[in-house]
């Protein structure tokens, strides 16, 4: 999910048309049988299928198949899939000089599954419905840059003043220049909705509505199943291979594996037991074309947040470096099973704008690395005691023990405290309760832009808020300034600035010890082909493209 | 209970009739975790039609087991046939230890009207139990099924042995309740056992036992669980019914007073054996066994001035490993050498049917008996 306005403008300068051609030809790839039913399994129910309410990775996999948006991710693999591309927007929007006003032209021909045409109003309604306080949506924070949205949120207006429909054009005015705005538009919160859904304001979510993407939600029984059917009126150019996508809910990972092995299920979205991957790779090979085992890097990061508000790491960059030298990234990754993720010593993940491979810290422990670690630690141990937080489920407690051992090698005695995951991050994000020196954290981007990684997680201005995401309590004025400046840049300059920030932080004053960038591991039945995975869009195979052999 | 004995008038003619029930050399052994218990070890007696036999002895002497064995009511019981010359005790033990199926074993014979109950088929036994021979037990509360009405239990008893309809059985049940003195029988027939008092329940048991007009009623300590007044009522009831119907009764008790009141003949048991067998008069007036003397001596007497009852010193022997020789010898104040080695047989001294199992001479026995009886009369402790 990488977004950068500069890159878009630069590429647009090269050729909007070529992009349009590429996306069209990519989605025209249908090298398999059209028709049939694809069976998907999820371990737990989705939160809502209502586009303005759903905020859950699993649901977004389905929304990706049913929604049509102004900007979207192409149905392509790799870097090409990470470029936000106009979908219903007829080309890139016209952006005013001050970067605050975007004007989109609506491409004709898109229709909802009930026959209604998709217009500019479809997207304006989406924004206003999202802002409607009666919907109580979790997507409201993403409207912070839309002018007039706050008035709607506060119940003082019925529509945002900054959103205007002018014939077949949609104009959106922002409160400040936000280069990641186009990336935000790829979230299902901003998907086009028909007039019926626009009038249905219900915080409980609407389960039955028309969609303008390749599929629509034909049926939903909460906690049991969801059925998607091909949108008969869809002429947008994206693939819609299967007739029906059937989602069954509730089986645990063991059963999902059994069902995928027997062919009763095509895609176990809830996952399979982590210990099974090695055997499956041995049996079916890895990343073959339309192969059964597919692994792709995700845009996320697993890391140790070092609490700079407490005495141990406050103004103690060398100790932070020592931690980065002593942690055993290999063993940490091994806890999650084969191909759990890619070891990293950087903040930004591969594939994201601003990522440049740096080899500042080792990804394997050797006697040499231990020596270096101790060199940095010497004299900086302060009282040598640390409190280490981790989640109490899954592999987290094991990983905590590992980290505890690693810290011991440089002379820090870490006391482990295990917490329920929800408790862990809510308490960590509250200055009054953040009583840890190290916490094992995990962050997945909502959209692929370095702003959603660096600024959101390391901007020092938020550390006094009663609830925030800067678990390292990292607040250095110089870097706050750099982060702010980088966020205003576009294109290559943006990428370079963020890359520089990443390496400078890690080299000189590490706020974290980054550990692993997770992989999206997918196991499929032997009955499907047309496997296309775009982790910028969602994890797993694109459901509209997946086809029966 | 006084010790004066009134000879019963309801004995049938004793010499010409064959006995109704004739038990010979009955043995019943039980296999337990601790070993083989010889609960009944060579018991013989007989009951004549219409007569009352009192079987008396202290707890654990085998009197109940004897009667249960007669009716084959011991659980998982087997029966061993032995020739007369066989060493019965050893054979029984050997067989019982080897058996996987049986946990108790009986041998000997128990002829009822000429038919040996110990070898009878199970069908025949079922017909006899409750039909020709009925048995009532000590604790009427636990002996009646608490979840069925007494009517249901009476009707069950009747229908098992009489070919009648339920309605007719119910009628008979009401009549039998009436007979035993339950007031408002027609209403109370549908009550449950816990709604009756102890004495009433025992009357119900008696009604249930007699509903099929059996020839022999075995009463296993029927009054032990009751208070003295009720006791006397129940005994009176049994007596009356017996006289009306001519039923023979085996009255098992540890209470000599009960024996005195109802029995015609008496069998005294000690440690799984019979030690004395005589008419009730003979037992009380001319007892011939040291154990009987001890029993009589320990009777409380209203006119006595002694502040302690006389006890027989010691405890009854364990039936797991009974002592060789006379089983009473260890406690007997009259025992001598031979008593500890040889087993005294139950035999009479010539005249009549008064039998005892003791090596003392007749003269000694008569002399001691005299002393006991005199002591009773003259208020001296023996």
């Amino acid at each position: 999910m990488g977004v950068k306005r500069t890159a878009l403008l630069a590429l647009a300068a090269i050729g909007v048309l070529s992009l349009g051609v590429t996306s069209a030809s990519a989605s025209a790839t249908r090298h398999g049988a059209r028709g049939g039913t694809i069976v998907v399994e999820m371990s737990s129910d989705v939160d809502y299928i209502d586009p303005q309410l759903s905020y859950y990775g699993e649901t977004w996999k389905l929304e990706e198949a049913t929604a049509c948006k102004l900007m979207n991710w192409p149905d392509k693999e790799g870097a090409a899939g990470g470029v936000p591309t106009p979908e219903v927007a007829n080309g890139l929007p016209i952006i005013s000089k001050d970067g605050k006003t975007y004007t989109f032209t609506i491409k004709p021909g898109f229709k909802f599954s009930n026959g209604q045409a998709v217009t500019a109003a479809s997207f304006a309604n989406a924004i206003n419905r999202l802002a409607n306080p009666k919907m109580q949506s979790q997507g409201i924070p993403f409207l912070d840059i839309v002018e007039g949205a706050q008035a709607v949120i506060d119940g003082k207006a019925s529509s945002a003043s900054g959103v205007k429909v002018m014939g077949n054009k949609l104009q959106v005015t922002l409160t400040k220049a936000a280069p990641d705005f186009l990336a935000r538009l790829t979230m299902p919160f901003f998907a086009g909705i028909d007039t019926t859904l626009a009038s249905q304001i219900d915080a409980n979510g609407i389960n039955n509505y028309a969609s303008c993407g390749p599929y629509y939600f034909a049926a939903r029984t909460p906690n049991r199943s969801i059925t998607l059917k091909r949108n008969p009126n869809y002429k947008g150019g994206r693939a819609a291979n299967a007739d029906v996508i059937q989602v069954n809910i509730g089986n645990d990972t063991n059963v999902e594996l059994q069902n995928t092995l027997s062919g009763a299920t095509d895609y176990p979205s809830g996952g399979i037991p982590p210990t099974e991957w090695k055997g499956l790779v041995a049996q079916y090979g890895l990343n073959k074309k339309d192969g059964r085992v597919q692994v792709r890097p995700l845009m996320d990061i697993r890391y140790l947040a070092l609490n700079h508000a407490r005495p141990l790491f406050k103004d103690n960059p060398n100790l932070a470096k020592a931690v980065n030298w002593t942690v055993d990234r290999q063993a940490f990754s091994a806890q999650g099973g084969y191909l759990y993720g890619k070891r990293t010593g950087q903040i930004l993940p591969p594939g994201m704008l601003g990522f440049q491979q740096q080899n500042i810290y080792p990804i394997r422990i050797t006697p040499g690395t231990i020596q270096v670690a101790n060199k940095y630690a010497k004299g900086n141990l302060r009282n040598g005691q640390a409190v280490l937080w981790a989640a109490n489920k899954g592999v987290a407690p094991l990983q905590a023990q590992l980290i505890q051992y690693n810290l011991k090698q440089i002379g820090i005695n870490a006391q482990i405290q295990l917490l329920p995951r929800a408790t862990q991050f809510t308490e960590a994000g509250n200055p009054k309760t953040a009583n840890y020196d190290v916490t094992i954290e995990h962050w997945g981007a909502d959209y692929a832009d370095p702003y959603d990684f660096l600024n959101i997680l390391l901007d020092g201005k938020q550390v006094l808020n009663p609830q925030h995401n800067n678990y390292a309590y990292f607040n250095v004025a110089k870097y706050n300034q750099q982060m702010l400046q980088a966020s205003l840049l576009v294109g290559n300059a943006r990428g370079t600035a963020y890359a520089g920030l990443d390496s400078e932080l890690m080299k000189n004053n590490p706020p974290w010890a980054p550990l692993v960038d997770s992989n999206d591991r997918t196991f499929l039945s032997g009955r499907v082909a047309c496997v296309t995975i775009n982790t910028a869009a969602q994890a797993g195979p694109l459901l509209n493209v997946l086809c029966r052999k | 209970m006084s010790t004066t004995v009134e000879p019963s008038t309801s004995t049938g003619s004793s010499t010409e009739d064959a006995p109704l029930l004739d038990v010979r050399d009955l043995r019943t052994y039980f296999k337990t975790e601790d070993g083989i218990v010889r609960a009944v070890d060579g018991v013989s007696f007989s009951v004549k039609a219409g007569q009352t036999l009192g079987v008396v002895g202290e707890s654990g002497c085998g009197k109940s087991v004897t009667m249960l064995s007669v009716l084959s009511l011991n659980t998982k019981a087997g029966r061993l046939a032995l020739g007369p010359e066989a060493n019965a005790g050893a054979e029984m033990e050997h067989y019982l230890l080897a058996s996987k199926k049986h946990t108790s074993l009986s041998t000997g014979s128990a002829h009822f009207r000429g038919e040996d109950l110990l070898t009878a088929s199970s069908d025949r036994l079922r017909a006899i139990r409750g039909g020709e021979i009925a048995m009532i037990f000590q604790d009427p509360m636990t002996s009646l099924n608490p979840v069925h009405t007494i009517g249901a239990q009476l009707i069950e008893a009747a229908m098992l042995h009489q070919d009648i309809t339920k309605g007719a059985a119910r009628q008979i049940a009401i009549e039998s309740l009436d007979d035993v003195g339950i007031p408002r029988a027609k209403q109370r027939i549908d009550d449950f056992p816990h709604q009756f008092s102890g004495g009433m329940r025992q009357r119900v048991m008696i009604a249930m036992a007699l509903i099929n007009e059996p020839e022999l009623l075995i009463a296993d300590e029927p009054t032990t669980a009751l208070d003295v007044t009720t006791q006397s009522q129940i005994l009176g009831l049994i007596r009356r019914l017996q006289e009306e119907r001519g039923t023979a009764v085996v009255m098992i008790t540890h209470d000599l007073g009960v024996v005195a009141e109802v029995a015609d003949e008496v069998v005294v048991m000690y440690a799984a054996r019979v030690v004395e067998r005589a008419s009730v008069f003979e037992v009380f007036e001319q007892p011939r066994h040291p154990y009987t003397w001890g029993l009589l001596g320990s009777l409380p007497r209203p006119d006595a001035v002694a502040d302690r009852l006389t006890q027989i010193q010691g405890q009854p022997p364990s039936l797991l490993n009974p002592p060789p020789g006379c089983r009473f010898a260890p406690r007997c104040t009259f025992s001598f050498g031979r008593c500890l080695e040889d087993v005294p047989e139950l035999e009479g001294s010539g005249a009549g049917s008064h039998l005892d199992a003791c090596f003392l001479t007749d003269a000694q026995k008569v002399e001691e008996a005299q002393r006991f009886v005199t002591a009773a009369a003259t208020d001296e402790s023996a």
């Binding site: 949120i153 979510g205 808020n465 | 002996s143 069950e156």
Partner: protein, 323 residues
């Protein structure tokens, strides 16, 4: 009789208040903030405050509890889930029949196993039948439910494919989009869950029945019945069983009542959308209204069933007739 009913009713009210209050207190002792969770990952403090107000979480605990009680009594409503905003009433009433089907079917199955096994063992102690039965009892009581369920699911459901390895099918009105429905589908899908659920109870009850029957066989009234000349089968049927099985009735009632609160393991393994699974998911996501809803429902179920058992017991045991 009526005073007895009134007293039980008041006691039931008291119980429900206690249980719900304890649930509330426990929930609020958990440090995570449901408003924070409901507001989403990127929520600002203003967003969290807004959500907190919407959910009523900005009020003191006792006020929240009072509102909960008021809503329960006046509207018979258990509120709405924090996570997906469905009414808890609806979620609980959807889940309850699934659990009821599992528990009652399981109870029938375990009694069908326990009664013959227990009675036969008692009538033939230390025989081959008895010893095999007691081995079964030992295994059944010791084997964890999860292990049994997973084994059955893997071998019977997956490897052999004789029965479905998971899932639930409605008997009536299969939901739109579901792949199965109707009585036969429901039955085949329930066989493995019933077996998993029943094994532990079957073993425990077989042992209890055996012990009770053996005890009863030694009772005096059984001896009386034999002395009356009753044939053995009649003795067992009329005299032994009715008395031996009295305690089983009480236990059965209590066990069913408790299990109606959710046979959690079985439902989780076989993906049955019942109260047990609902409890697990709502506890994991700190969804207080749903947790509370299940607790209230389960408490009701236990109270009603134990009340019924009391009445039933008075009916079958004449010694305990209520005045």
């Amino acid at each position: 009789m009526s005073t007895y009913i009134i007293k039980r009713f008041l006691w039931a009210i008291f119980l429900i208040v206690c249980v719900t209050m304890i649930t509330y207190v426990l929930f609020f002792l958990v440090p995570a903030d449901p408003a924070r969770l409901a507001a989403g990952k990127s929520a600002t403090p203003a967003d969290v405050a807004r959500v907190s107000k919407q959910l009523g979480l900005d009020k003191p605990v006792y006020v929240q509890y009072g509102l909960f009680l008021k809503r329960l009594i006046l509207e018979q409503s258990l509120g709405r889930s924090y996570v997906n905003r469905r009414t808890v009433n609806q979620m609980v009433f959807e889940a309850a029949p699934v659990t009821a089907g599992l528990v009652i079917g399981g109870a029938i199955l375990w009694m069908l196993i326990a009664l013959p096994v227990g009675i036969l063992s008692a009538l033939r102690p230390r025989s081959l039948v008895d010893r095999s039965a007691m081995i079964f009892v030992l295994v059944g009581i010791s084997a964890p439910v999860i292990w049994v369920g997973l084994l059955l699911q893997y071998f019977v459901g997956f490897r052999l494919g004789w029965l479905p390895n998971s899932g639930y099918c409605n008997v009536f009105n299969p939901p739109v989009g579901s792949s199965c429905g109707g009585p036969w589908d429901w039955f085949t899908h329930m066989i493995l869950p019933w077996t998993t659920f029943a094994i532990l109870f079957a073993a425990a009850y077989a042992r209890m029945v055996r012990a009770n029957v053996m005890d009863t066989l030694g009772e005096d009234y059984v001896r009386t019945a034999r002395a009356k000349g009753a044939p053995e089968h009649s003795v067992v049927r009329h005299h032994v069983l009715r008395n031996a099985l009295l305690p089983v009735v009480t236990m059965l009632g209590l066990d069913i009542g408790v299990a109606l609160g959710g046979a959690i393991f079985t439902e989780a393994i076989f993906n049955l959308p019942g109260l047990g699974r609902l409890t697990v998911t709502s506890v994991e996501s700190l969804d207080l209204p749903t947790v509370q809803g299940v607790v209230v429902f389960a408490t009701f179920a236990i109270i009603i069933i134990s009340f019924t058992v009391d009445i039933l017991y008075a009916y079958i045991d004449p010694r305990i007739r209520l005045a």
